[in-house]
């Protein structure tokens, strides 16, 4: 059983003195504190070295499958220059981070940024430690530091030689005159190599990786929770008398919502039933009489939102300017947006798009949201589903009205995240319940409660109108996308910043009424907008007599990152649009998280309209790749993530409630749905810009499949899921 086991790290007495490098997390421990690690010596807050030359590296980001617990150690080991087999991973201490001016800069884990944005200071932490080891060796041996080499865990100068472990204690006391520069790409010896094994795999084949749901605290009880089935609704009353005699039942607790409109991670109005065992709490909650004030959402449904969206699309929307994206920035410069409708109206070659739509989707992480809280008079310990341990720690402190110094939020593995770990109040629920009943508690959301209350990916509707020139290419384009009111950016990403150089362009946006919570969701925006934009492109190419891949090449001329991908697709995919009856290839390219990802899909469609996806071929330009293994894994993962929504997804809202709340009614792609062939090509510019890799192959997947189905059948798919489309 996984008893509460505080490592000594969690009790580290933290030095208040801020060294000059604190912003980079170069915390200089006091001698006594270094000793608190036992034999291992802390060179800086990111790493310790023991006498056997084993280096333990801290990862402040969350490991939710994307490989952070390998990527961060790799970046530090690259600079430290230590053999990979000597590297161990250790959890970060969120309390130490929060109470020391954000020691690790950030613990946030999202937007595919762990490597792309953070490699400079993580590599710096390794380089800094290496240089201090070199200075320690130079001092000990009485030689100039220039003569000391640090390579593969060994310091050498002439006849002198020592392991890092032997000189680690000396290095602790070294202050560098100047921080070293990090290595250039051409000098990497570990990053970019194919054969670097992930550090978390053995734990995950033996069942010993610890997730929040696996944590047990002595005296712990269990809670099942329910918020109003119509989101935004609030609890009026419940009748505990009706369930108090049921097996194991201990209490029912109201979780009070403080803010009228809660933000992502504010506590929402809910009721919790506490029992000895979780299934007892869940069974009692199922029959607990509860009165809800349903709120404004009760009259909203998928049908009502759809009707509202169609009405909005019939009129003009508000102008959206291009502000998003790394590569396609500032494409609007010099465009007269107001003149565009007039140019189209005067044209003799107009293409009017139909309405495309994608529905709500949910995270459904394999571990349902779960948290354990043990709130005592003088300290609170919490283990939770989070993609930002520091933010969750601060929120637990806020929930309790206590100082962050007395809150300990323990990092664990996560059973998936996909953005869901940003939009979560389960840690507040566990904290509030534990504080109320005076016992440690584990909250597990049933799958039904998870899907009903999750912060969802919003729906989108979109259409366009374009005028073509004599060469068949568009001279003017108006798009109109309808999203919802809470997160407008999710219906704009990938639209206003599309890289296709239409000289006159105007992008409009409208919002339907929506009470369903919205949150970050693996490639938010790009996933559903890409479906529309990249089919629009195929329709425009077809109307203008262009091959769709040649059209994309022509319309992105001079854009090296896109050209690199499009040319690779042309050269390597066996691209053709004339495969013959019942078979088709389709392509799509979408930029998200600073990475350009292209997909070529090959499908066959039976005479009865059954779609078979024979092959998905990906081309990815993220600038650089530090771990080709993880890059490929994430490419496969994002692809199947979005393939799942393409074939099966779609939440249904009726009377304000999400009605398909478990895997029987919200099906997922399974083994038999997996295409027989998925190929991943890494096509990097290696040109001083970095993109992320946790998400970008999702967005081009559905439009590539839909475009392939068009070439196979002549029929265009404008909505997902395909399971509900008749061909």
């Amino acid at each position: 059983m996984n008893k509460m086991n505080f490592s000594r790290r969690n009790f580290l007495k933290v030095s208040a003195s801020a060294a000059g490098g604190l912003m980079l997390g170069f915390h200089l421990p006091q001698a006594a504190e270094a000793g608190a690690h036992g034999a291992a010596v802390e060179i800086n807050a990111w790493l310790t070295i023991d006498p056997n030359n084993i280096v333990s590296i801290v990862t402040p980001q969350t490991e939710m499958g994307q490989g952070a617990f390998t990527a961060v150690p790799m970046m530090i080991a690259e600079e430290l220059d230590i053999p990979w087999e000597n590297v161990r991973h250790v959890f970060a201490d969120a309390n130490r981070h929060v109470n020391n001016n954000n020691l690790y800069t950030t613990t946030s884990t999202g937007g595919s940024t762990t490597v792309s944005r953070r490699h400079p200071y993580m590599m710096q932490a390794g380089a800094s430690a290496r240089e201090r080891l070199r200075v320690a060796a130079a001092t000990k041996w009485g030689v100039p530091v220039e003569q000391v080499t640090a390579k593969q865990g060994v310091l050498t100068a002439g006849a002198n030689s020592a392991t890092y472990g032997e000189l680690a204690a000396d290095a602790v006391n070294v202050t560098l005159a100047e921080e070293p520069k990090i290595k250039a790409y051409k000098d990497w010896w570990l990053l970019g190599k194919e054969d670097v094994k992930r550090l978390d795999i053995p734990l995950k084949t033996s069942g010993t990786a610890t997730y929040p749901i696996d944590v047990t605290v002595p005296g712990m009880v269990h809670a099942a929770v329910q918020s109003c089935p119509v989101p935004e609704g609030k609890l009026v009353s419940f009748d505990f008398e009706a369930i108090k005699g049921m097996p194991g039942v201990i209490a029912a607790v109201e979780l009070k919502q403080v803010k009228d409109v809660p933000a992502f991670t504010d506590l929402r109005s809910a009721v919790a039933v506490v029992a000895d065992e979780w299934y007892q709490a869940k069974n009692a909650l199922a029959v607990l009489p509860i009165v809800w004030d349903l709120g404004r959402g009760a009259s909203i449904s998928s049908e009502s939102q759809n009707a509202e969206a169609l009405q909005l699309l019939a009129g003009p929307g508000t102008l959206v300017l291009n502000q998003d994206g790394n590569i396609g920035k500032n494409l609007d410069k010099g465009v007269n947006h107001d003149a565009v409708p007039g140019i189209i109206a005067a044209s003799s070659k107009v293409v009017q798009g139909e309405v495309y739509h994608r529905p709500f989707e949910t995270h459904a992480t394999m571990m349902p949201p779960c948290a354990v809280a043990d709130v005592k008079a003088d300290r609170a310990d919490v283990w939770t589903f989070t993609q930002d341990i520091a933010r969750s720690l601060n929120e637990v402190a806020d929930q309790l009205g206590r100082d962050t110094k007395s809150v300990f939020l323990h990092q664990t593995y996560l059973g998936g995240g996909f953005g869901g770990g940003y939009n979560m109040d389960v840690h507040r629920q566990a904290t509030a319940i534990s504080a109320e009943i005076g016992r440690p508690v584990k909250v597990i959301r049933s799958r039904e409660e998870d899907i009903a209350q999750d912060s969802q990916r919003p729906p989108v509707w979109g259409t366009y109108k374009a005028a073509l020139g004599d060469d068949g290419l568009p001279v003017a384009l108006v798009t109109h996308f309808v999203g919802e009111e809470k997160m407008p950016a999710f219906s704009q990403r990938g639209v206003a910043n599309m890289p296709y150089l239409v000289p006159n362009r105007r992008h409009e946006y409208s919002a339907v009424q929506n009470h369903i919570p919205i949150g970050y969701h693996r490639a938010p925006g790009a996933n559903h907008n890409g479906f529309i934009v990249e089919q629009m492109v195929d329709e425009l190419a077809q109307a203008g007599g262009w091959d769709p891949l040649e059209w994309r090449l022509k319309m992105t001329e001079g854009n090296e990152p896109w050209q690199r991908i499009l040319l690779a697709m042309k050269e390597k995919s066996g691209w053709r649009t004339d495969m013959g009856s019942g078979e088709g290839m389709g392509c799509a390219v979408v930029e998200s998280h600073g990475t350009i990802a292209g997909c070529v899909a090959t499908v066959s469609v039976s005479r009865r309209g059954q779609i078979y996806i024979d092959k998905l071929d990906y081309y990815i330009n993220s600038g650089y790749v530090i771990s080709p293994l993880t890059a490929r894994e994430q490419a496969e993962s994002s692809a199947i993530w979005e393939l799942s929504h393409t074939i099966f997804g779609g939440l249904v809202v009726r009377d304000g409630r999400i009605v398909n709340t478990n895997f029987d009614s919200y099906p997922m792609a399974r083994m038999p749905d997996t295409p027989p062939e998925i190929q991943v090509h890494l096509e990097n510019s290696e040109d001083q810009w970095w993109g992320g890799l946790g998400e970008p192959t999702g967005p081009p997947t559905p439009p590539a499949i839909a475009n392939a189905v068009f070439y196979a059948t002549g029929k265009r798919i404008r909505v997902t899921p395909l399971s509900k489309v008749a061909l």
């Binding site: 978390d200 084949t205 065992e277 597990i444 049933s446 083994m671």
Partner: protein, 153 residues
């Protein structure tokens, strides 16, 4: 009510009411947390264990139904994390978040015990009850073939 469950060859005396699902008896009573909760309705396979040789979704069968039977969980697959399925999973780097993988491995072990060298169709059918939200299916499929090879060696 006390029942005795034989899990991984060891008898556990478990105080459970008749409604207690086998999953929670394994996790919260026997303390074997490698088996996971995912959906509660036998749809996702995260809770898969092997009972008398068959892959079973433990989340919605009462613990009492396993009395007198041999229950195997991920903890009982091998002592050293070196069953051919585990070795193949490591070699092909199957797990990502890892949460579903105990269930995937148990389904794969049960499959290979019945069919030493399964075809892709047999794999599709035997593994269809296990959802992986990280989409590790291509690697699972390859790893089952690899485990079959390792078992022969």
């Amino acid at each position: 009510m006390a029942i005795t469950l034989n899990i991984n060859g060891r008898d556990y005396a478990i105080d459970a009411d008749p409604q207690m699902p086998l999953l929670w008896a394994i996790r919260d009573k026997a303390g074997l947390t490698g088996t996971k909760f995912g959906c509660g309705i036998a749809q996702c396979g995260a809770c898969t264990v092997i009972v008398d040789g068959n892959a079973v979704r433990s989340c919605n069968v009462p613990a009492a139904t396993a009395v007198g039977k041999a229950v195997r969980t991920i903890e009982g697959v091998s002592e050293q994390n070196d069953h051919p399925v585990q070795l193949a999973w490591q070699e092909l780097t199957v797990p990502q978040c890892g949460y579903c993988q105990s269930g995937q491995i148990m389904s794969a072990v049960a499959l290979l015990e019945k069919s030493a060298d399964p075809s892709d169709n047999e794999i599709d059918s035997a593994m269809a009850g296990n959802i992986c939200r990280c989409g590790t299916y291509p690697r699972i499929r390859a790893a089952i073939h690899r485990a079959a090879e390792l078992s022969k060696a």
